[in-house]
Amino acid sequence: MDVYTTEDEQIAAIKKWWKENWMSLLGGVLIGSAVLIGGKYWLDSKSHHAEMASYEFETMMQAVNTDKPEQAAEKAALLLGQYTDTPYAGLASLTMAKIKTDSDDLVAAKSHLRWAMDNATQDDVKLIAKMRMARVLLAETKYDEALTLLESIKEDPQKAGVEELKGDIYVAKGDKIKARTAYNIALAVLDTSADNVSGRARDFLQIKLDDLGESTVPTRES
């Protein structure tokens, strides 16, 4: 500010600058406030939408837990109709797939799983839907279709489950060698923590593997 030598000159410069710029300054402040307020409103309405979905989801889960599939299906339909942009829709279609499987309607179960595979907002839910789809295909004896689906999974998180499913399918196909390989991979990648869940998963896998028999060369432990 050394360019201005006196205070009068500085004041004059400020006044001049103000005259030239007050419109754009005021405009800027107004637009800024509008964006902030509008954004806040948009966020609020968006979160309100998600909160409604959350509420419907809770009601649906309660119905599932108290064994009321019709009520659960009603809520699921609501979530799948109006709330497809929320994560609750994906979970609703998983729920419908379960309900349909329980009533032995595998075709309907598949269409719900297909929806989740294509439309769920969470990639993890898409992946889980894929695995469940493979399980239904196994029950329908569509082994190759199920295997192709499982082979298409490149993500790691559910690897133990995916390999176990492959093993189940190979067992159904009568291919013991491939089944054994798949079960062995599943055992190797299974969470090693000693908690209850992994322990039970490990036991069941081991039983399946044992049932395929082992090599007959006598060794110390054979």
């Binding site: 998600a50 909160e51 959350s54 797939a97 907002t121 239904v136």
Partner: protein
């Protein structure tokens, strides 16, 4: 320039600045600007901090739960490390899940959170949510409503993600059948045991072998590391024994405890109630009074009180009992009722009395006079109580002295002993697992072998070994673990060496046997199998072990040196067993279920070493999968539930693991 701003600040510029400041405050609220900064952090998850405060609250509440569950067995020192790790893991898991759930768009309305909080019983008074109680309970727990509400929000969001995955797996008929086929599978098992004992008799242990074993297994022949400790023991019991109270002390105590020794007077009444509704008009009251007065007159004229009560009393509880209320002392009934009741003589009937319920006519039936336990009768109890009080106070004083001096003079107990008047005692030698006397308490061994006490030679911290019963200890004698001399352990080792040799040999013999059976060049197997099958046909349900003597072709071995046990296989038929059968050694069953299924109907052979060293050769004659069609619905349903739960939990666990791998988690060990 500056002076211009100073002047201008009074005017529009000031307002413009204030106006601009208002916008963020108005939009985002003030609370974010008052976050407590600078507190200690135990971990961060993708930049979000988990404060030490939160960690500790969670840790202590888990510990309390543990303490309640384990009761006296609870030992804080032993569990704390594990519990801290678990608490930390839980908090990190929660935070990771919360972040992922929020990112994914899970949300919950404030109304739902409020609804949940209001439904929590701990915050309710007479079935109604009470804001005061809510805040009280939280602050007792060191929490603010904001923190608690966030905790509820976290809980709901993570629970939604969890239940969305774990309660929804598809489980088809095929899956259930597959599980049941395996779970209910039976295998027809025969087995023959080659006993290790038979081989022990001919094995020997040379001095060289013993020495070699001794050297290569030195760690097994170490004496236990042991310590003995000096300690000061302070116990409340006995501290007050010498205190002799004066009569005056005892009388004072007696007066303080009068409520325990005096049973106040109680009176039994009957009454007839003429009810007046709350807020009843003057007229209602007058009508009731008139009715009551009339009833009183009937009684005066000789009517029976009980009959009138049954007929006219508006008190439903007592009317059927002829108006009988039973015994009451002072302070429990309506004041005007009470006053009248205590003014009546036995058998007397009152005039109508107005209480908050209406008009009563009261009859005093009986009086139970005040009962007092006289001073002399309770004197012994009072003395004991007096002494207990003295003992508690003494314990408190002494324990403070003891604690302070044991800490201030850490390399001797003398000062603490002098100040507290306790004498130093010594224990016997004991190891890390404790011993007898005070060492029987696991806390004592733990303290004695702690670094501070054992390595640094300090006094221990006070150890509470019972209620108002503590000790402070220091090491008196330390005996390090050392190798026991060979002579002392020679016999022990000889047994070991022979055992190992015998095990090796029996296993080798067993594997040879198995090889022959598998090669199919031995009659042993076939004869045995045929016999077993015949047996089965004779008594197909019989599960009892059946010994079948079998001749062996291999004459050379057979006639060796009378090694009958090694050669002939004495097959026992265990029958059809399930996976979980425990009627024979579980190792045999486990092995049997690992063997391949036969493709050609011939038996499948296997072998297994038992814990005893015996070698077992086993044969599977038949494998039968669980009969899925015959299994009842209840069992199917429970199998289905198990599968659903297992598939769901596994999927969720894997999801959580991958979430954690994709998060940046930093743990600050120092702050835990």
């Amino acid at each position: 320039m500056l002076s211009y701003i100073r002047e201008g600040i009074q005017g529009w510029i000031a307002w413009a600045i204030v106006g601009l400041l208002i916008i963020p405050f108005a939009l985002w609220g003030i609370n974010q600007y008052f976050d407590t900064g600078g507190s200690l952090v135990v971990a961060t998850v993708d930049g979000t901090e988990i404060s030490q405060q939160r960690f500790q609250r969670e840790f202590y509440s888990q510990r309390d739960r543990m303490r309640q569950m384990l009761g006296n067995q609870f030992s804080a020192d032993l569990l704390d490390a594990q519990l801290k790790q678990k608490t930390l893991d839980d908090l990190i898991n929660q935070e990771v899940l919360f972040q992922k759930a929020t990112d994914a768009g899970f949300s919950v309305s404030n109304e739902s959170i409020i609804g949940i909080i209001q439904s929590i019983e701990a915050f309710q008074e007479d079935g109604q949510f009470s804001n005061t109680l809510y805040k009280q309970q939280l602050s007792a727990n060191g929490e603010t409503p904001v923190m608690f509400e966030q905790r509820i929000q976290r809980g709901i969001l993570t629970q939604q993600l969890y239940s969305g995955i774990t309660t929804t797996p598809v489980v088809t008929r095929y899956d259930v059948d597959y599980l049941l086929k395996l779970q209910e599978q039976t295998r027809h098992i025969r087995y023959a045991t080659l006993s290790v004992d038979a081989y022990k008799q001919e094995a020997d242990a040379s001095d060289t072998a013993i020495k070699q074993y001794y050297e290569s297994n030195a760690n097994r022949y170490m004496t236990q590391e042991q310590v003995s400790v000096s300690y000061l023991e302070l116990n409340v019991s006995g501290l007050g024994k010498d205190a002799v109270p004066t009569e005056e002390d005892l009388h004072k105590l007696y007066d303080d405890r009068s409520s325990m020794y005096v049973v106040p007077e109680e009176r039994r009444t009957r009454h007839i109630l003429v009810a007046v509704d709350e807020g009843g008009s003057e007229d209602d009251i007058a009508a009731a009074k008139a009715k009551a007065t009339d009833l009183r007159k009937q009684i005066a004229d000789g009517a029976d009180f009980k009959m009138l009560a049954e007929q006219y009393s508006d008190d439903p509880g007592s009317a059927t009992l002829g108006g009988d209320l039973g015994y009451f002392g002072k302070g429990s009934l309506d004041p005007s009722y009470e006053e009248t009741m205590f003014a009546l003589a036995e058998g007397e009937v009152s005039e109508p009395v107005l209480s908050s319920f209406g008009y009563h006519i009261i009859k005093l039936e009986a009086v139970r006079a005040q009962k007092v336990k006289p001073f002399e009768e309770v004197k012994q109890t009072l003395i004991a109580e007096y002494q207990q009080g003295i003992a508690d106070r003494k314990f408190f004083e002494l324990s403070e002295k003891l604690t302070n001096l044991a800490y201030e003079v850490p390399d001797s107990l003398e000062d603490a002993a002098g100040a507290s008047g306790l004498s130093i005692q010594t224990s016997e030698l004991f190891g890390r697992n404790g011993g007898s006397g005070i060492a029987a308490n696991p806390k004592v061994a733990l303290a004695a072998f702690s670094d501070d006490v054992l390595k640094n030679g300090y006094n221990s911290e006070p150890i509470e070994i019972g209620e108002n019963h503590m000790i402070v200890l220091r090491i008196k004698d330390h005996q390090a673990a050392k190798l026991r001399p060979l002579e002392e352990v020679k016999d022990e080792i000889a047994i070991q060496v022979i055992d190992e040799k015998a095990r090796e040999r029996v296993e080798k013999a067993g594997i040879d046997r198995l090889q022959q059976l598998r090669n199919g060049n031995s009659n042993v197997a076939e004869i045995a199998r045929v016999e077993a099958v015949n047996d089965e046909q004779n008594a197909s349900t019989s599960h009892q072990a059946e010994e079948v003597e079998v001749n062996n072709d291999n004459a050379e071995e057979h006639q060796g040196k009378g090694k009958g046990a090694e050669l002939a296989l004495a097959w026992q038929d265990a029958g059809e067993l399930t996976r979980t059968d425990r009627s024979i050694d579980s190792k045999i069953v486990q092995k049997a279920f690992k063997l391949s299924k036969s493709l050609d109907g011939k038996p499948v052979y296997g072998g297994v070493v038992l814990a005893s060293g015996d070698y077992v050769v086993l044969a599977i004659d038949k494998v039968t999968d669980g009969d899925v069609a015959a299994i009842d619905e209840a069992k199917r349903l429970s199998a289905k539930r198990n599968l659903l739960n297992l598939i769901g939990e596994t999927a969720f666990q894997n999801l959580l693991t991958s979430f954690k791998q994709n998060s940046n988690i930093v743990v600050q060990d120092d702050n835990i």
